[in-house]
């Protein structure tokens, strides 16, 4: 089968869905690659580089649409392009099906299958084809660069002979992929970076990138991001109000604001209101990455840079990835290639459109003359973020109660032990003669003292402890010494042997202990 990539029709779109590198990989999957002449020019890939990679270059878009079994492109197809498609053809591109329902219906009527790269579900397995993330990453980076371009000061604070330069303060709203990329870029340029997101669980990620997370004084059960595929969802009006109040408080301090808040298949929420823009210092820059969906700031003009009356620059470009066409083409082409790998399980150049597969099913919006959007929820839960089990804060009373319980249990245990021990001793005292009891009391006390003393011995001195206890356990020599003087030769012999062995032990044990202890040295 043939995979073809036409030149992007949309004006200003510099990306291309196939690069010479990705073409080589696609050929390994058994596909023939074709490309429209000049498709890669804007991204820095000439027709010659494609030819070197074994890609057939065709002159016109019409010829390409005719020849290709699979058409991979970046932007959603136009109506004219849909008309060029045919039954059984597979189209892969961004599509935004929620906004382009008519187009989707047309494609379905035509009989072409459509895989929307923006509909790839967010599960671990599909990360390699998550084009939204790879584009968002670029957008986040570029947003900071673009802001820096329009911002008249350094990002990093400096103290120079010519005066002190305060560091720029950057606020990133929405810590998704684009937001995190922006945070990373901004902190590495040296700005003081703040970040906000409605999902408090990303605070850790934000802080790991070196930014400060802006917490709201608002108590509400936040919906778990994992349930909505890792994306933010609509928040309650109260929460939105608290959020705006916080932004209003921050606005006058911020030099650069980058808003990236998007909710899937919805208009972008308004987060940066007119009065906030007005309260900002002249020369400040706002980059609205949500401009395509109406903007997080309502003053944003899509695809344009405007300067407000109070000198705040608002950038509403929607083509950040396109502005770094080589980089973004590389990443996008790789995403497409991974998608093709999943579609070609046998590596034989034949597409197997497996609608049972979570990833393929989720991304397919038209198949076999029917619209297949929206997809059923994925079988695999997105991002396995288990809700953290909250450790209950104990109130002082509960703590006291616990301590009391522990104390009571301990007392009970000790008392039981003492009672049993005492009863045993008393029992023994009833039958045993006084002489035995005298020794017995000595014994019990010695065991007691032993237990008390030994618990204090340092772990590192356990070997010396064994050696010294070994030495003093040869106190048995006393027994032998007492006996050696009385009785028969057998007794003398046995006793002599005992004395001898104990002697070995005493000297050996003490000397070895001393040797060991002498080795322990402080640094």
């Amino acid at each position: 089968m043939k995979i073809g990539t036409p030149k992007e029709v949309m004006k200003g779109e510099a990306r291309v869905a196939m690069t010479p590198d990705s073409a080589r990989q696609l050929q390994k999957l058994g596909y023939d690659c074709i490309i429209e002449s000049g498709a890669g020019d804007a991204a820095g890939y000439s027709d010659e580089t494609y030819k070197e990679a074994g890609v057939e270059v065709v002159k016109t878009a019409a010829a390409l649409w005719k020849a290709a079994d699979v058409v991979a492109k970046v932007r959603p197809p136009t109506e004219a392009e849909i008309k060029k498609s045919r039954e059984g053809q597979l189209l892969i591109s961004f599509f935004y099906p929620a906004q382009n329902e008519k187009l989707m219906q047309q494609a379905a009527d035509k009989g072409a299958s459509v895989i929307a790269m923006d509909m790839v579900p967010r599960i671990s397995r599909a990360q390699k084809m998550d084009a939204l993330s790879s584009m968002a990453n670029i957008a986040g980076y570029r947003a900071v660069i673009e802001a820096g371009n329009n911002f008249g000061r350094f990002f990093t604070g400096q103290v120079t002979a010519a005066g002190k330069v305060p560091p720029a303060k950057v606020l990133v709203v929405g810590a998704g992929v684009a937001g995190l990329a922006a945070i990373g870029t901004s902190t590495s340029l040296g700005a003081i970076t703040y970040a906000f997101d409605v999902r408090p669980e990303v605070a850790e990620q934000v802080e790991s990138m070196g930014a400060e997370f802006v917490f709201l004084d608002f108590e509400e059960e936040q919906q778990d991001g994992a349930a909505t595929g890792g994306y933010a969802s609509v928040s309650s009006p109260e929460f939105a109000a608290a959020q705006l109040a916080k932004f209003r408080e921050l606005a006058p301090e911020m030099d650069i604001v980058i808003t990236t808040a998007l909710i899937p298949n919805r208009e972008a929420p308004e987060l940066w209101t007119k009065d906030m823009v007005e309260s900002m210092k002249p020369g400040s820059v706002i980059v609205d990455l949500a401009a395509e969906k109406g903007g997080n700031c309502k003053m944003t003009v899509m695809d344009e840079k405007i300067v407000t009356d109070n000198g705040v620059t608002i950038i509403g470009y929607t083509d950040f990835p396109s502005r770094m066409a080589t980089q973004s083409s590389n990443l996008y082409a790789t995403n497409i290639r991974h998608m093709m790998t999943d579609l070609t399980p046998e590596k034989d150049g034949q597409v197997v459109h497996n609608m049972e597969d979570d990833v393929i099913r989720g991304a397919t919006i038209a198949h076999e003359k029917a619209v297949t959007f929206p997809p059923p929820p994925p079988k695999v839960q997105a991002i396995a973020a288990k809700p953290k089990e909250k450790v209950k804060e104990l109130t002082p009373e509960e703590k006291k109660q616990q301590e009391l319980d522990a104390f009571k249990a301990q007392t009970k245990q000790q008392v039981t032990l003492l009672a049993v021990g005492g009863a045993l001793v008393l029992g023994a005292g009833l039958v045993a003669p006084a002489s035995f009891m005298q020794h017995f009391i000595v014994f019990v006390l010695a065991v007691f003292v032993g237990f008390q003393v030994i618990w204090g011995v340092a772990h590192s001195l356990h070997t010396p402890l064994m050696a010294i206890t070994n030495a003093i356990s040869s106190i048995i020599i006393l027994g032998a010494l007492m006996q050696i003087g009385s009785g028969s030769y057998l007794v003398i012999l046995l006793a002599a042997l005992s004395v001898f062995m104990a002697g070995v032990n005493i000297f050996g044990g003490f000397l070895v202990t001393r040797r060991m202890l002498a080795m322990f040295q402080k640094s």
């Binding site: 356990h462 009385s486 046995l494 070995v504 402080k522």
Partner: protein
């Protein structure tokens, strides 16, 4: 001399012994404490020699001196890595001495009992002490000396086997005769029967029979315990030798023997308890030997072991700021402690933080690793216990595992079906990088696969620990 003087000397000696043990709470005070012990012992022996009941002064002193020469030789020649063997061998001497003393008591008792009253009055020494006893006291005496002989005999053979295992002269794996614990139980039951028999008749035959049974129990019990459980075994035998002394003390009516025996006994018991807790196993299961079968399917280990050469380790160490070294029995076997110490010195000279993490059951003796490192002149304040250092691994750049296996096995935490599940382990895998110095790809003593070796941040530094470290040292200046 007066009996009262001896008693007074005993009291002083007992106090000195308690101070000797208590002094071991710190490295510096321990150096003083050992002198308390020595003085206490000298006092006790001297007091006994001059006190009532002893004779053959010259013989005794010659014998003690002779024993002392041998003891001196042993103590100065022993390698620190052989410490466990030495301790085990010494326990066996105490055990045997206890058996002999018990038998003497029996012989003397028989002789004294056979005498008439007038003859009894003429007796002196130990026999005079026996002569004063009434019939109940004699019955109790029999039980006491019986117990002393029993514990002494178990300690004797047990220590001999433990010595053999530690010295590599006996196969270290857990072995049992056919019949297993039933044999032990049988021998124990036989001993109880002998006790009743002896209690009633006072004949020498049940005593000998019981001694044979006890010797067998000691042998068979320790044969059934594997090499890695040796710390528990050695401390347990230590405890036994104390109880044997205490039992003999009862039969001889000597309070100092009782006090010291009880001190040693409880010390050994506590050590055993600490060791068992460190392995998350009950004392019973250690004594019954071996690891039980796995409770269920063990987690399959994924990934592969990635080897690394000395250059790679040297580079990583060069870049690291903090290093934790985890030594195990393998380091002792390879005699690598000097090289480890040298490595530590060089890394510390470069301003890196180097510390040691010691698991309570690392090695074959409680505190074994501390002694080895001390011998190699590693300062003790960078040698830390498990509880002190376990939380620091996430902030550590490099963890080096030298010859340990089970004590760094993450399966203890992750895999509820693992035979060592629940055992506290050193969480070295939380360090940024882990190097494992190991002879080959085999499993540890317990035969459990160690998932640590398969982790992404783990690199295997194969080879004899000593040679590997020498290699490494040539690359680190």
């Amino acid at each position: 001399m007066e009996f009262g003087f001896t008693t007074a000397a005993y009291v002083v000696a007992a106090v000195l012994f308690i101070l000797a043990l208590g002094g071991l709470s710190g490295q510096e005070s321990a150096k003083r404490a050992v002198w308390y012990g020595i003085v206490g012992m000298a006092l006790a022996v001297a007091a006994t020699l001059v006190g009532p009941g002893s004779g053959y002064w010259l013989l005794s002193i010659i014998l003690i001196a002779g024993g002392g020469v041998i003891g001196y030789q042993l103590a100065t020649r022993v390698q620190m890595t052989q410490m466990p063997e030495l301790v085990a061998a010494m326990h066996s001497l105490v055990g045997l001495a206890a058996v002999f003393v018990g038998f003497i008591a029996h012989i003397e008792l028989g002789r004294v009992m056979a005498m008439d009253d007038s003859a009894k009055k003429a007796l002196e020494g130990f026999a005079a002490l026996l002569a004063k006893k009434d019939s109940v006291e004699i019955a109790i005496l029999r039980v006491e000396l019986f117990l002393g002989v029993f514990i002494g005999a178990v300690t004797f053979t047990g220590s001999v086997i433990a010595y053999g295992k530690l010295a590599g002269k006996v196969d270290t794996s857990a072995k049992k005769l056919p019949g297993g614990h039933i044999l032990n139980a049988g021998a124990a039951a036989l001993s109880v029967l002998c006790l009743i028999w002896y209690f009633n008749t006072g004949g020498v035959f049940p005593l000998i029979l019981m001694t044979a049974a006890a010797l067998f129990i000691g042998y068979h019990l320790i044969m059934g315990i594997g090499g890695a459980d040796m710390p528990v075994v050695v401390s347990m035998l230590n405890s036994y030798s104390g109880w044997a002394a205490a039992a003999i003390g009862f039969s001889l009516g000597n309070d100092l023997l009782i006090v010291v025996g009880a001190l040693v006994g409880s010390s050994g018991a506590i050590l055993s308890y600490i060791m068992c807790k460190a392995m998350n196993r009950s004392f019973i299961s250690v004594i019954l030997g071996g690891f039980g079968g796995p409770a269920g399917e063990q987690m399959a280990v994924e990934g592969e072991q990635v080897a690394i050469d000395a250059d790679g380790v040297a580079t990583a160490l060069d870049e690291a700021d903090s290093v934790i070294i985890i030594p195990g029995y393998g380091m002792a076997v390879a005699q690598a402690q000097q090289n480890v110490a040298e490595l530590t010195r060089r890394l510390r000279a470069k301003g890196k933080e180097v510390r040691f993490a010691i698991h309570p059951v690392a090695g074959r003796l409680p505190g074994h690793m501390n002694v080895l490192l001390a011998e190699a002149k590693v300062p003790y304040d960078i040698v830390l216990e498990m509880d002190e250092i376990n939380d620091d691994f996430p902030d550590t750049d490099v963890a080096i595992v030298i010859g340990s296996n089970d004590i760094v096995n993450p399966a203890a935490q992750d895999d509820p079906n693992s035979p060592i599940a629940g055992m506290p382990v050193l969480e070295c895998w939380k360090a940024k990088q882990v190097f494992v110095s190991k002879r080959g790809q085999g499993t540890g003593y317990s035969g459990i696969e160690n998932p640590l070796f398969f982790k992404e941040n783990t690199r295997m530094f194969y080879g004899d620990a000593k040679k590997s470290l020498e290699d490494l040292l040539t690359r680190i200046t």
